[in-house]
Amino acid sequence: MLLLRLTLSRLLTTLITLVGVAVIVFVVIRVVPGNPIAMMLPPGASAADIDRLKALYGLDKSIAEQFLIWFGNVLHGDFGTSITTRQPVLSLVLDRLPATLELSIMALVIAVIIGVTLAILGTRLRGRKAEAGIDVANGIGLSVPDFLWGLALILLFGVIWPVFQISGRVSPRLELPFTSQFYLFESIVRLRFDLTADLLSHMFMPALALALPLAAIISQLLKQSLKETVNLDYSVLARTKGYSETRVILSEALPNSILPTLTLVGVQFTFLIGGTIIVERLFSYEGLGNMAIDAVINRDLPLIQGIVILFAILFTFVNLAVDMTYAFLNPKLRHA
């Protein structure tokens, strides 16, 4: 019951947020300098040509009018046509979405594995030199942004010790049997592990670059929470029962510390998705982020709008998912 009410109220606020985002983006990209029409016509085009093209794309109307037209179309599932590629924005964007989703989720998985492991290790070794080492690692992870990790990784695994692919999503010479854009997922389902290996080799560095700052956040927050939890009464009681320190951390403290960490990780995960924009560019990974930069360079207004709306949907969806998981994992809410 509570879960249902939570979901409904969240869906409503999500919708309001999305409309807000749409308005802001729509206005901002029309106010900032740069003219999409100028990018499309050869130098020296006549004023009449420019006007004709403006009218074609509806850019001759007022911003409010443009917005209402665009919004009406969006409600019918029509996000307009890309100015540069002349293809429907919706299909362009949906085509790229899986690549970015796979990358982000892979990054999240890596971040959780590294972060949780370090947190547990740091708690187990608390008060010793190793804990200080983990703290230093967390500090570095937190202070270096994802794209700098990307550059460092390219230097390390692309140049000095070239074991991973540094560019693209998949090797171009490969025949791809895929019917969807979820390459990694499909390669596993089809048991084409040769392709999985190639995809992972491409995905590893951008995913790791995105993951490291988040891993540091998870590690720091979770360790802090674990260190408090292992001193609580129920952890002490478990020790008197004969449990080892490691066991106390894993089965007494961890389930209680995961919950408060989860909420923050949710917020941070949306930052990670935002980070794909630059990191995908860095690794020429054919995802939404890379497309977004092209769209901005080309002043492809309909495409920019589409991408931003999609990112906004993604963000709110992540937040919703986190809230639901929280409610589900928390015994007090589950039974309310």
Binding site: G127, L232, D233, Y234, V236, L237, A238, R239, T240, K241, G242, Y243, S244, R247, S251, E252, P255, N256, L259, P331, K332, H335
Partner: protein
Amino acid sequence: MSGFLEIRGLSARLAGTGQRLLRSVDISLPAGSVRGLVGESGAGKSMIGKAVLGVLPKAVEIVEGEILLDEQDLLKVPPAERRRLIGAKAALIPQDPLTALNPSRRIGPQITDRLVDILGWEKARAASRALEVLVEVSIPEPERVMRLYPHELSGGMRQRILIASAFAAEPKLIVADEPTTALDVTVQKQILKLISQLQARHGTALLFVTHDLGVVSKVCDTLSVLYAGKVVEDTTVQRFFAAPQHPYSQALLAATPRHTDPAASLQPVPQAVIDAAMAEVAADDAAWRPQGGAHG
């Protein structure tokens, strides 16, 4: 006569400041008997219980002494073995039932975990044992309660569950650290009676930490009076209430309102007695030379 629990010359101090927390504590607890541990707040009552159960805070180090549990010196066995030994032979009834159960685990596993993981029982046997002890502590619908989470139960119920959990493995020693102070006054009496009954029925040795001399007179056979980490009097309950020897004990007894006269107000321990006890402790400190290094 050697007790099931023998603490001999146990001294402990704070690692950082070197402040002494326990001063050559001697406590003997024969199998099946109940010893009260009384003294004012900060006297080190809980510290003794924690030392016995191997859960002293990291900041506290044992300087010297022996803790013999069933004739094995806990301070001489390696940590992993010590944990198993304590888990198998001793148990804790904690002070606060609201914080001593893990909020994200169901009740059942919190009772059976020791039986299965530490004592190697089969799950089915552990589960039926859990039901048995829950019935023994008068939990209604024990099968259902085993599937609940702690927050779904009242404080009194939770304390009963913790008592059941402590007795589940038939330990020879139970440390109860102020097991009723966190409860409603009405529930306190029931819980006290329950612990006392179970202790007698199972023949468990009980180390009972409390502020309350009234409780001591009801539950305990012997009594250690603690002041600033020093046992100032070690006596039987009968003798203590008839004629306490140490001035601090006398003052403590005088400070306790008689149950026959509830109107009698609490007398503070006279300053002179405190000064004398402090002087005694200081003299003791001056004479004290630690032998060897810290244990475990």
